[in-house]
Symmetry: C2
DNA sequence: ATATAACTGTATCCTTGTAAACAACTGTTG
DNA sequence: CAACAGTTGTTTACAAGGATACAGTTATAT
């Protein structure tokens, strides 16, 4: 009676977008760690470095909302990146509550080095999908998230 | 110089499947909790109940691999579900290391009650996608995960 | 002006999930 | 059989992330 491995009945879960997204995200993270082998920072840290590179002077809170990291957690990550000398924060004159973030030269170098490693991993389509399907999947996810296409890779 | 909210440059992250999956998953979870308001168990627990319903007698470890929950964590969740009277485990005669899981009548009732609530939430397409796009997205995720289509909802 | 509300980041505690070592059991190989 | 390796679930110790309450600052309304 025990269901044999590999022939499980996924029941309604197979039609659940939330469940499929969760599984897919875990799959992608596993692939990331397996491919990077410590050659890249944690995904959260890397995403912060890349966002600060593209949006210099962005505030912690804005970044937190964009990346869906809680503000309390953002504080910790930013502090660790500052301690690592990759990031520096400055308080703008017009609002002394805020902190504007900039990459240090070391941070810029690290962002580019790490991204090139990740990029090599990301551009290989995920074995189970054709290149077109992967592109279509990215497109639909951007629409789901209401992120505009930016033609970066046509 | 500070990038205005809503017009951020996502840079390479907008083309990163892993990053898009992470954001999408967080979005879906937020929508789940907002819609359920405590009317459904945690996603992990619900997925276990539904999988045991569809695969009675499944072993903890098989379930853990399928749902990508670590075995240590699976132990805790299963114990809490047993304590709640929703699940029971039995040791098969031919392998006394293993534990085969079955739903109790209460567990079956809870699985069906909770799923019907989640189902109502899930079938409303996610506002940013048409129904066809949502179906296409689910299809691609199943392919990404190598889950066979089961025609449950054609 | 002064009080009140809202915003921004921080510190604290708590829950969820992971890693590593372990005990019980099974299977294989000499 | 005896020894050894692999599996299965559990325990323990820890890290990652979330909730809450807070201090400092700014904006708004009397």
């Amino acid at each position: 009676m025990t269901a044999p491995e590999g022939r499980l009945d996924w029941g309604p879960l197979g039609d659940s977008l939330g469940f499929l997204l969760r599984l897919a995200q875990l799959e992608a993270f596993e692939a990331y760690f397996a491919a990077m082998e410590g050659a890249a920072p944690l995904p959260g840290s890397l995403s912060i470095l890349l966002m600060v590179r593209g949006n210099p002077g962005i505030r912690q809170g804005v970044l937190a909302r964009a990346l869906r990291i809680k503000r309390a957690h953002m504080t910790k990550i930013v502090q660790s990146l500052e301690q690592a000398g990759l990031l520096r924060g400055s308080v703008p004159a017009d609002d002394r509550r805020a902190i504007e973030l900039h990459l240090t030269p070391a941070g810029l170098a690290e962002a580019e080095r790490a991204w090139s490693a990740v990029h090599a991993h990301e551009t290989a389509p995920p074995a189970t999908l054709t290149a077109e399907e992967a592109a279509q999947l990215r497109h639909l996810l951007r629409r789901y998230l209401s992120l505009q296409e930016h033609g970066h890779e046509p």
